[in-house]
């Protein structure tokens, strides 16, 4: 491989990644001070690897070049913010979309409308400083747990014939976890309510 698919723009991508991570950090500090609790469990970020980006270009049938990597594909910069409670997902989302350097390109609320397989997460694609695209995924610990475990199962490659049953059961697990998320949020609201009165 002679040259990076990102050309000379890697530094710019790194800056956006740092800027968004910093913004999340600031929100965490602010909310921890105001409510006594950090809303974020953890926050991961990455620049999509050379290999993954080229693979994605091939999958999409587009040329493996700078234009594809920076303009057509929108997740060269990726952030995953994992929150404790359901409402925190929206607090993080509200903060990000109101950043002055940021323009919202697309939002997908897979929490309000889960994917058919049960996947829940809030996805937002941002354009930062008018040039760099970044994809941010925001979800609760339970939603993240499900996504991680589902990813590890690799049942799609199995040819045991009971794929339909596995899919149905994975969706049931997702729906049960979603139910628990709401119960935990409800309990938290009730506790906060009692503290206030």
């Amino acid at each position: 491989m002679s040259e990076s698919i990102y050309g000379s723009h890697l530094k710019k991508l790194e800056n956006v990644r740092e800027e968004l991570t910093e913004a999340v950090m600031l929100l965490r500090r602010k909310m921890a001070e105001e409510n006594g609790m950090d809303p974020v469990e953890h926050c991961l970020s990455r620049i999509k690897s050379e290999d993954s980006m080229r693979e994605k270009c091939r999958r999409k049938g587009i040329p493996e070049d700078e234009h594809s990597a920076l303009e057509i594909i929108h997740d060269a910069v990726g952030l995953r913010v994992v929150t404790s409670f359901l409402r925190d997902v929206y607090a993080v989302r509200d903060m990000l979309v109101s950043l002055p350097s940021v323009e919202v390109i697309e939002e997908k609320d897979y929490i309000k409308k889960a994917k058919p397989n049960g996947y829940r997460s809030y996805h937002v694609i941002l354009k930062c400083h008018g040039t760099v695209y970044a994809e941010v995924q925001i979800r609760t610990i339970s939603q993240d747990t499900w996504a991680a475990l589902e990813h590890h199962m690799k049942y799609k490659k199995a040819i045991s014939g009971n794929t339909a049953l596995i899919q149905e059961e994975l969706k049931r697990c997702a729906d049960e976890l979603a139910s628990t998320d709401i119960s935990m949020q409800t309990l938290r609201d009730m506790i906060l309510d009692q503290e206030r009165t």
Partner: protein, 227 residues
């Protein structure tokens, strides 16, 4: 619906079995108490029809034994006209109803239908209200999204849907959904109502539960509930 019939008089047993089968029930016949008990061990039944006077073990002994083993299937006792004490003993031992011999076949069939009706109507029946469906076999609440409810959440929502629009008091809910179990209190009901409100919102439903803590609650289609 499966019925276990225990009756030692061969002819009567045969006639009753035929009539019940004709009515659409699946019937296992036993001719004495021990046979009835061994069938009970092997199979589940939606209704038991037990004659009291039977060889080996009488109907009341069978009844006591099955209740001791936590079998809660409904039981209809068949008694002779003079056996008042038997009827009392039978009901006290956990029978749900009795019929005095001689009886009209019509009446026996009507009682069998009545005693299996509750299960037929409420088991595995999906309930719908407004834009939501509540699946009884999976405890799944479906609107624009789907979510799984806990047993109590399911039972509470079921109560609301079955009496939609009617205000249900907290004490009514404690009695009918919680069966007044020790520890259940006004706050418990309020918490579960709050859970359900969140879950209705999570499936993006227009249906809401209205009412204040400690008071009456009711289901409304399109009502606006604010936290």
């Amino acid at each position: 619906m499966k019925i276990l019939l225990a009756e030692d008089t061969t002819d009567l047993n045969r006639v009753l079995t035929a009539a019940l089968v004709h009515e659409g029930f699946e019937v296992d016949s036993a001719f004495d108490g021990e046979e009835a008990l061994s069938l009970l061990e092997k199979n589940g039944y939606d209704l038991l029809i037990l004659d009291i006077m039977m060889p080996k073990k009488d109907g009341i002994e069978v009844l006591r034994e099955m209740r001791r083993l936590n079998n809660i299937s409904p039981v209809l006792l068949l008694t002779a006209k003079s056996e008042v004490d038997d009827r009392v003993a039978g009901l006290d031992a956990g029978a749900d109803d009795y019929l005095t011999k001689p009886f009209a076949m019509k009446e026996l069939l009507a009682r069998a239908r009545a005693m299996t009706r509750r299960r037929r109507e409420y088991s595995a029946n999906d309930l719908a209200f407004g834009d939501i469906t509540l699946h009884a076999d999976s405890f799944e609440l479906v609107g624009k999204n789907s979510i799984r409810l806990s047993v109590k959440e399911f039972e509470l929502l079921q109560a609301f849907i079955l009496q939609a629009g009617k205000p249900l008091t907290t004490s009514y809910l404690l009695e009918h959904v919680w069966q007044n179990v020790p520890g259940a209190m006004d706050d418990t009901v309020w918490l579960y109502v709050s859970y359900l409100r969140g879950k209705l919102e999570a499936v993006a439903s227009q249906v809401t539960i209205l009412g204040e803590k400690g008071g009456s609650y009711w289901l409304e289609n399109g009502g606006a509930w604010q936290a």
